[in-house]
């Protein structure tokens, strides 16, 4: 039973992380899957969300910290909303010079802004505490829940050890619920939006910009809305991550975990399909965990294991692009509610 409890605890941890990645995938799906905007600076928006949330809802600087600002200790929802707003604002400024140009320019500009954000996180210690990171970020409702669990466990010492182990991990169950709630809400909202006339314009832009422009749609403005909306969702994912990990530094938002893995997730799941984005996140996060098991079986450790795991994700991407570019679920061709009801 103890083994079972251990597996269940791991499953919860796994699902929380995969769920946060799924939120990132939903954001990217709006930009890339539905509008064809090539954002390879996801890590930047993700990091901005995490740091904004940590600065708004986190603790004030401690005596050992370099940073001098932030730590307003607002309740978590304030940090969450702030994260979305600031990420969206940055996306707006990236969109201004690039959205009127070919898609490659947006790609280069987003990778550039992500790199600049990473440099700022690493160097501006007054704001971000640089490499020492921001510590003790409070998890929402953590202290009452953890206190309650401790009280209950102390009152019932006769409980079997597996149940104790499950219960002492109780806060993660709560956080999983929170992640699932936000993921489900974002899923439903983006499904609703994509099936609206607004969503059909986005898809039309992706398929043929000039044709869409001739129908009188303001291409630039629609692209901007998509870019900003996607970035806001990425910022929310950053907030979810910061308050779960309770510690962030620049290394949490490296290009591999912050950007590349999310692209692979979306492409494997099926870009242009919100369910595919979520499935892809769980599948690829599972593959990533599986490669850790494999490399340890082969006796690889340290950088060798890490490099091999990243190479395998890269190879999976190339195989999918060549063999099955639509991904696992593929895109739903018809999203119009009217056409569906006629069928």
């Amino acid at each position: 039973m103890d083994v079972f409890a251990g597996i269940l605890n791991y499953a919860v941890f796994f699902a929380i992380t995969a769920g946060i990645f799924a939120v990132l995938c939903l954001g990217l799906n709006i930009q890339w899957g539905y509008t064809g905007l090539f954002n390879i600076g996801i890590a930047g928006f993700y990091a901005i969300g995490a740091y904004t949330s940590a600065l708004l809802s986190g603790p004030p600087p401690g005596p050992m910290d370099w940073r001098v600002v932030g730590g307003f200790q607002f309740p978590w929802p304030v940090g969450f909303v702030g994260a979305a707003l600031v990420s969206g604002l940055i996306a707006f400024f990236i969109g201004l010079p690039t959205l009127k140009l070919k898609e490659d320019y947006l790609a280069i500009a987003t990778i550039g802004i992500a790199e600049v954000i990473r440099l700022v996180l690493k160097n501006e210690s007054w704001l971000t505490n640089s490499v020492w990171g921001i510590k003790h970020i409070p998890a929402p409702l953590a202290s009452p829940i953890e206190k309650g669990i401790r009280f209950f466990l102390e009152g019932n010492p006769q409980l079997p050890s597996w149940l104790q182990s499950l219960l002492s991990n109780g806060y993660n169950w709560f956080y999983l619920g929170l992640v699932i709630f936000i993921l489900a809400a974002l899923y439903l909202i983006s499904e609703k939006m994509i099936r609206s006339p607004w969503g059909r314009v986005l898809r039309a832009i992706r398929e043929d910009e000039i044709a869409t422009a001739t129908t009188g749609k303001n291409i630039f403005w629609f692209k901007m809305q998509s870019l900003v909306l996607g970035a806001m969702i990425m910022g929310m994912a950053g907030s979810l991550y910061a308050h779960y990990a309770r510690f962030i530094d620049a290394s949490s938002f490296e290009p591999f975990f912050g950007t590349f893995l999310i692209w692979v997730m979306l492409i494997v799941g099926g870009s242009g399909n919100n369910l595919g984005a979520i499935v892809g996140a769980f599948v690829i996060w599972g593959v990533w965990a599986g490669t850790e098991f494999l490399t340890s079986q082969w006796g690889l450790t340290g950088y060798r294991a890490a490099s091999l795991r990243i190479i395998s994700v890269g190879v999976i991407l190339e195989i999918i692009l060549i063999m099955r570019p639509r991904g696992i679920l593929g895109e739903e061709k018809v999203v119009s509610l009217i056409l569906k009801s006629k069928k």
Partner: protein, 306 residues
């Protein structure tokens, strides 16, 4: 006064790093012009070249080649041979990657190629890290004393003169190749209009192969020269070069090799000169800001056509 007195020296550093960026940017611009996609793996191709040279260097040091440095340079025959071989080998690696991956995706559109190049970038970088590890690998273990150029009040190392000279020679060589040889002309024609080139009887597949070979060989040269300048290389070399070379290409105009040279020099110089005013760690950010400003005022670049 303090700041302005440092600028001549920073110009020297800028010329050196501009030479390295130029070599990367030309290759990127060539593939961009002919294959019509932004190759995000190009920085990592530079790093691949640098590491292949490191491998050849080890091989030649194992043979008992005369390894006394060419005075006043700080390296000798082994590194020079490794440099040349690595350019050839990196060209081969690029053709191989094209065969296995890009060729199969050529009909699916440039954005798919772009995504797959991001995948190739991660594969290359981690293959280098898997083989050679994340720690610095040294080309040259000695410290070289800079010589003072009389009258100008600046110092430059003989190795840095070598870097500028080699980069200039390669650029001149490329210029003659593009303007005077059959293949060079075919490449320019394909870059202007691939369909038209094809109906005029140009073997565009062959042109693509040559484009990869030349662009990647130049990238390898840039990678090795970066290694000579820093004395060491790490697998992150490619990632650090990515932003400067893209900024150089956009500044000069996509698809224009001459624009890439101009852009490379401007990016190199402005990044180095910026260190007189802001923290050194923001050098890549300077390249990025110049790029964004260029996109705002003239997205076609300084020498871009169309």
């Amino acid at each position: 006064m303090e700041i302005t007195s440092r600028i001549p020296q920073l110009v020297v550093y800028g010329l050196v790093s501009g030479s390295i960026i130029t070599l990367g940017a030309i290759g990127l611009s060539l593939t961009y012009g002919i294959l019509r996609f932004a190759n995000f793996a190009h920085g990592d191709v530079m790093a691949t070249g640098a590491f292949l040279a490191f491998a050849f260097l080890g091989f030649f040091q194992g043979l008992n080649l005369p390894s006394t440095p060419f005075h006043p340079l700080s390296f000798g025959l082994p590194l020079l041979l490794a440099f040349i071989l690595s350019m050839i080998a990196t060209g081969g690696v690029a053709i191989g990657i094209d065969r296995v991956i890009y060729k199969r995706l050529r009909t699916t559109g440039r954005i798919t190629l772009l995504i797959s190049s991001v995948g190739v970038a991660f594969i290359l970088r981690n293959a280098l890290q898997f083989i050679w590890g994340p720690d610095p690998r040294y080309y040259i273990k000695k410290i070289q004393i800079a010589i003072r150029i009389p009258g100008l009040g600046v110092r430059i190392k003989p190795d840095e003169i070598f870097i500028i000279a080699v980069a200039s020679c390669l650029v001149i060589f490329l210029h003659f190749f593009l303007t005077n040889t059959r293949m060079g002309k075919a490449m320019r024609a394909t870059s202007d209009n691939m369909d038209l080139a094809q109906v005029s009887g140009i073997d565009t597949e062959n042109v693509i192969k040559w484009t990869w070979a030349i662009g990647s060989a130049l990238a390898a040269a840039g990678g090795v020269l970066a290694g000579i300048e820093n004395k060491f290389i790490t697998p992150n070399l490619g990632w650090n070069m990515l932003l400067p070379i893209f900024a150089a290409v956009i500044l000069g105009g996509i698809g224009s090799p001459y624009g890439a040279m101009l852009g490379g020099m401007i990016i190199g110089l402005s990044a180095e000169i910026s260190t007189a005013f802001i923290s050194t760690s923001y050098k890549p950010a300077v390249a990025f800001i110049i790029m964004v400003v260029m996109l705002l005022i003239k997205p076609r670049g300084l020498l871009g056509e169309k």
